[in-house]
Amino acid sequence: MEVNKNSTFYTFTFSIIMVVIVGASLAYTSLSLKPLQKANAADKQMVDVLGAIQVKSSRSNAKADFQKYVVERISIDYNGNKVNSKTGDVVASDANDPFNIDVKKDYRSNKPAKGDMAWGNANELEFPFYVCEKEGDTLLVIPVVGSGLWGPIWGYVALNSDNQTIYGVKFDHKTETPGLGAEIKEDFFSVKFDGKTLSEAAPYFSVLKGGSNTDEHSVDGITGGTITSKGVEEMMNRTLDIYKKFFESEA
């Protein structure tokens, strides 16, 4: 049978078959590699949590180091009440493990409107944090998520046991501008936070325009990365607001 390759019917059939084959093979690849990618992401999360308490770890040592320093994983609800608490090994399949709460996804789907502190659906969400022991000190590591200029930014803020003093921070980003906003992940930016304190009432912490006078509760932002710097400030204040409630109820 002679097929007319220029007919619309042929073109349509060809594209439909192509899309089905491509779709199926990509779905298969993605599904079969998912477990490995998940494990990598978990390792990375551990490395970042440890980074906030200034422990340099690597992917291969992440699990062991995490075991060594992180003593408890706690999740709280929006009103600051404790929901879950886990110790020991992280179990990837355990949905109740605060380690497995996808804070980025929660933020994405319940993002507060601009200038608003309140989350949508806030009462259904859980917010995790990590209790760490390092050289006799008890440190709390709080994950923060927010928006930069181009896409999501996130990080971990480690507080001393007084819940006021910042022990260390570790930020990362997805698509901020290299050389400008992307610098938030560099050490020169995060060391500025060490030893600063959160103020009693909101705003707890500010990231100022480069060159401003900074005090106890603020740091210099990144020149040329103002929106990303402001994003860092916004995510810290919004997130810490929730944890403050927990700290107050504990005290």
Partner: protein, 227 residues
């Protein structure tokens, strides 16, 4: 490059014509230095040798896969949507590469970030599919893919070695991490005389290094100089 599809006459895979397919892109029709394609990624990921190696392997895989698939389908692909078909083929191969890197080389994948995805827009690949694979048998198409990917790769490797050695005083290979070969005592920070050249790490320096390669190549072969 001839894109004539001669039937009937059988020729060996390594005939003179086919060897030319492999050799030409390495030198006189190099995709980066002569055709000036795929420059964007060449500038962006040549800070470390390790990234350049992974990027080259990814491009090699996508090129071979794309050329082979398009060449096999060349008599089936409807003319009117051939560009879309090429794009779909390239895009799916790139997604596969991206997923595999995320699973097996997470650190490198993080550093390459968007540039793996941008292989899709690498003009070298699309150009070879359109100019060669669409009109030639699978065998020569694969050779053409290997030739062009290698032409891309050696420039990347040379540029990244220059940039990493002078910019970071180190060499990195996948699986080995970064090896600093200069003694710590040499650096000014520890009262030595040597300092890494930070300019080398910035993208403009990649352009300069590529420019130097182009210069050397053209001064050795006058035929390449345009008026």
């Amino acid at each position: 490059m001839s894109s004539e599809n001669k039937p009937a006459r059988k020729e060996s895979l390594f005939s003179k014509k086919n060897r030319k397919l492999l050799k030409d892109p390495l030198g006189d029709s190099n995709p980066i230095t002569i055709q000036v394609l795929g420059i964007c990624s060449a500038l962006a990921i040549t800070v470390q040798l390790q990234q350049a190696v992974i990027m080259s392997l990814s491009v090699l895989f996508v090129m071979i896969g794309g050329n082979l698939i398009v060449s096999l389908l060349r008599n089936l692909i409807p003319d009117r949507i051939r560009i879309i078909v090429q794009l779909v083929v390239i895009a799916s191969l790139v997604i596969v590469v991206d997923e595999v890197l995320k699973a097996y080389q997470p650190d490198v994948s993080e550093k390459l970030s968007v540039f793996v995805g941008l292989i899709i827009t690498n003009c070298i690949i699309m150009g070879r599919l359109e100019a060669f694979a669409l009109a030639n048998k699978p065998g020569p198409s694969v050779l053409d893919a290997i030739g062009n990917a290698m032409g891309y790769a050696w420039i990347l490797l040379v540029v990244s070695i220059v940039r990493e050695v002078f910019g970071s005083g180190a060499i990195s290979l996948p699986g080995m991490g970064q090896v600093k070969f200069l003694p710590e005592g040499w650096f000014i920070a520890s009262d030595g005389f040597y300092e890494n050249n930070n300019l080398m790490i910035l993208p403009p320096m990649a352009l300069v290094v590529v420019g130097i390669i182009i210069w050397i190549q053209r001064s050795r072969n006058e035929a390449l100089i345009e008026d």
